[in-house]
Structures are given as structure tokens and as C-alpha cells.
Subunit: 261 residues, 2 copies
């Protein structure tokens, strides 16, 4: 059984993401439904939800697109169908064209990162931004690139440059999320208090004392260098309070030897 409260919470946060201003993706004459669905997934993965589709080869709606999108089907349900690139772009104020061949135009070329930062500035100022992606094989026509304000080009390996449109969408949507301020959740490391110098010295002192008893520091003239080496290795680990306690337990267990009987 699904938990309805949890479901509701998930829907709310999806809508919240969906309503946050973000660029739209405009797919121009996409061929495979699977790719349209994969683009929808990539978009929702990174908080984009507005898609427009210009003349999809296999018509619209497309079952294969819906199947591939699975959890991201809301992106496809809301997608606008357009008869031409001009129509798809009509409500936007700034348009980028993704292309692997920026050479052939006099438009500025952005890396995905620079493009995301430019769109972030513009969207914060009230612009409506669209990113055009062309058909699987041919990419965008020169005419469609000519409708853009700038070109975005992903710096791929020139010896193997064939990036599919869903992969290109992943890169662009990921950069949007970063420009929009998303960062990975921290690990428990940030919550675990770092050991104080006193706690660290308590552990080091405990270790050196146990080693001293066992005549580990030999010959005596090397004691200082040996101790510095150990201290440095442990210092680099930036031990947490709990880890210092654990390590003192380890020394205790090692010095006590196996339990009798």
C-alpha cells in the first residue's frame, strides 16, 4: 500500500519545482519517442518542466515517449505541440540553439556552463528563456540556429562527438540546476563535530604511551621523527570526536590482548 501523506508530499514538492522559473526545452522535429521521454526525465531530474515539441516525426502524443518518461510523464503531459520553430519560440524573449557545429554562424558560442549562467541572470531579471535541441541525426537547421540569440556547444571529444539529444539535455539541465544554486546534500561529516586539539592530543598521547611501553620507538634518536610521522598521518584525516573515541578503544583492545579463557 502506498502512503497517501507521503504521496501528497511528493506531489507538492514536484509542483514547487515545476513552478520555479527555469528555461524551457524546445525539441525541433524529434524522431524517436524514446528520446523525447528521456529528455523529459533529464529535465525533471534537474528541475526543468516546460517542454515544447515542433513537428515530432511520429505524431503526438507518443506512447514510447510516455513509457520512457515514466515518472516524468507530467513534463510530456504539459508539453506544447508547435507547427514551427517560430511558433514554439514566440512567447520567449531569449533563445539558445544547441549545436555541435558552432563554426558556421556569427552568433556568440557558450559552453553549457556559460549558457546556464547567462540564462540564470536573464530569468532572474524576468526573461523567458528557451533552449532548442535539433533532430537526432541532423541537429538544428541553419535556419533554426539563426532564430537563436546564441549557440550552446558541448565540448565533446572530436573523435567521438555523437551525443544523443537526451545526453545533451542531461548536460544542459544539470548546468541549469547548478547555476540555479542546487548543490549536493552534505554527508554526516558536516554534522560530526571535529575533534578539538585536546581530544586529538589525548588520543595521540594514549597511542605514544602504549607504543613507548612496548619499546616501539627504537633507536631512541629516531623517536621524534617516528612520532612526527604518525602524528601527521592522523592529522591529515581531520578526525571527528567519535572517531578519536573509537581509535582510543582500538588502542585499548590491542594493548589488552585477547580475552583470557
Amino acid at each position: 500500500m502506498t502512503n497517501p501523506a507521503r504521496h501528497e508530499k511528493s506531489r507538492l514538492s514536484r509542483n514547487e519545482i515545476a513552478f520555479r522559473p527555469a528555461p524551457a526545452i524546445v525539441l525541433v522535429e524529434p524522431q524517436l519517442g524514446e528520446n523525447i521521454g528521456a529528455v523529459a526525465r533529464a529535465m525533471l531530474n534537474f528541475g526543468l518542466s516546460e517542454m515544447a515539441i515542433v513537428n515530432p516525426r511520429d505524431g503526438w502524443p507518443n506512447e514510447r515517449a510516455m513509457a520512457m518518461a515514466s515518472g516524468a510523464s507530467l513534463v510530456l503531459e504539459r508539453a506544447r505541440l508547435a507547427a514551427s520553430t517560430a511558433q514554439a519560440l514566440s512567447g520567449f524573449t531569449y533563445a539558445l540553439a544547441m549545436t555541435a557545429r558552432p563554426r558556421e554562424s556569427l552568433l556568440p558560442v557558450f559552453s553549457p556552463r556559460a549558457a546556464a549562467e547567462e540564462m540564470k541572470r536573464r530569468i532572474d531579471a524576468g526573461d523567458r528563456c528557451a533552449i532548442m535541441l535539433g533532430a537526432e541525426r541532423a541537429g538544428l537547421s541553419n535556419e533554426d540556429v539563426g532564430r537563436a540569440d546564441a549557440v550552446v556547444s558541448i565540448p565533446v571529444n572530436p573523435a567521438f562527438a555523437s551525443l544523443n539529444i537526451a545526453q545533451a539535455a542531461v548536460v544542459m539541465a544539470y548546468e541549469w540546476a547548478i547555476a540555479d544554486g542546487r548543490a549536493p546534500a552534505p554527508s554526516d561529516l558536516v554534522l560530526a563535530p571535529q575533534a578539538t586539539k585536546a581530544q586529538f592530543e589525548g588520543f595521540i598521547g594514549h597511542l605514544f604511551e602504549a607504543l613507548e611501553e612496548r619499546r616501539y620507538f627504537f633507536p631512541p634518536e629516531k623517536r621524534e621523527a617516528m612520532q612526527r610521522k604518525l602524528r601527521t598521518a592522523f592529522a591529515r584525516a581531520a578526525l571527528r570526536e567519535g572517531e578519536v573515541r573509537t581509535l582510543r578503544g582500538v588502542i585499548k583492545a590491542l594493548t589488552e590482548g585477547p580475552p583470557k579463557g
Copy 2:
């Protein structure tokens, strides 16, 4: 017919990319051959070529992986098969674990960008770096994460966080390429010389003169403001020499009217 010289050139540049030091991708217990192939493509797209595979569910080699990899099959042909994560990592000096749940560990968490920059510094200093990616559903086990020096987490939309391993590989490989200094090819814009101020003023003077003749600047007290507005709009376009010539031709055509007869 294929052009053998061209083929040779492509092979050479592929090898050149393959030999440039870069991180390896370690797939831990991947399930679908398609995903292994898609990871190989993403790697080669961004100049990575070294893959290790720990216990693939459907055995190895895998036909579906080869079909999906198509042009990137060389990555799969060279992939090392390992019986355990420990064995796959044995020759590396630095390992990262990609996981959507960084919370549960005390390892540092990197964004893909920070991880790529860290690996770039290390690889330039001679380190051998590996990036671990877990199985499609479960991701990496806590035990495998525990073998890493740090965690990488892609900051996805928490309401739709299911990123497949090929998409995760695209993001990580893309960030590697950027950290390694790859940038998009510029457009012809950088080659087209910007108009000098004299050329720009020649065009603006031509335009204002033609408009003056037609009594466009009316009433006269608004002339200055109207001229400033036009000048600003054209200045923002940062016109190239050729564009200035084109625009002077446009003024000429408009002022001459249609050809007689």
C-alpha cells in the same frame, strides 16, 4: 566507399584521446547491457576510455552492451573484468563513489564539478583515479562506498531523483572534460573582425543622413534622443566589419526605392 586516409586519421585521434591520462570508470554489478554500452559512449564522448566492470549480472562480454556502445566499442573491448570491487580498485590511488545518498557516510562530499577538479589536480600529480558507479536500482553498497576516498553526488531534483547510470556517467565525464581544459569550438564570430569606431560611425552617419533627408527626426527637439536610441541598439549588436557593409547596402537599397521599369 570509405576513405582510408580519413579512417586512419580518426583512429589516430581516438588513440590520442585514449592515451591522455584520465579517470577510470568502475561499474559495480551493473545489470543491463544497454546501460554498460551507454556508459561507454558517454565516456568516449568526453575523452575517457578506461572501464572496469565488477560482476556484471549478465556475464561478459555482453552483446547488448556492444550493440549500444556502437562507435565506443573500443572502451568495452579494453574493459577489465573484476571479481570484486577491491580487485577493480587495486591499482588506483584515489577512488570516488557516486551516490545519491551521501548522508550516510563520514566521507567528504563533492559535487561533480569539485570532484573533476580534485581528480584533475591529482592526475596531473601522477595519481590514478577511479570513479565507482553502482547497480541501476540499489546503487553502491555501503561497503563499496567505504572503499572510496570521497563521495560524488549529483544535485538532482529531490522530487525526481532517479538518474540512470549512463546519465550519471554523462555528467561526471562532461565535468572531467571541462576540468581537463576542453572548451567548445568558437564560431566564426571570433574570426570576423569587429568594426572599428570609424566604420561604425560611417554607418550611423549614413543612416542618420538618410533619415534626416526624409524628415524622420521630428519634432526637432527630440532628434538627439531618437538618435541616441538608434545608436545604442546598433552598438549593443557589436557589429562586425562585414555586417556594417551589409547594413550600408540595406540603407542604400531602401533609399533608392524599387528599380524603375
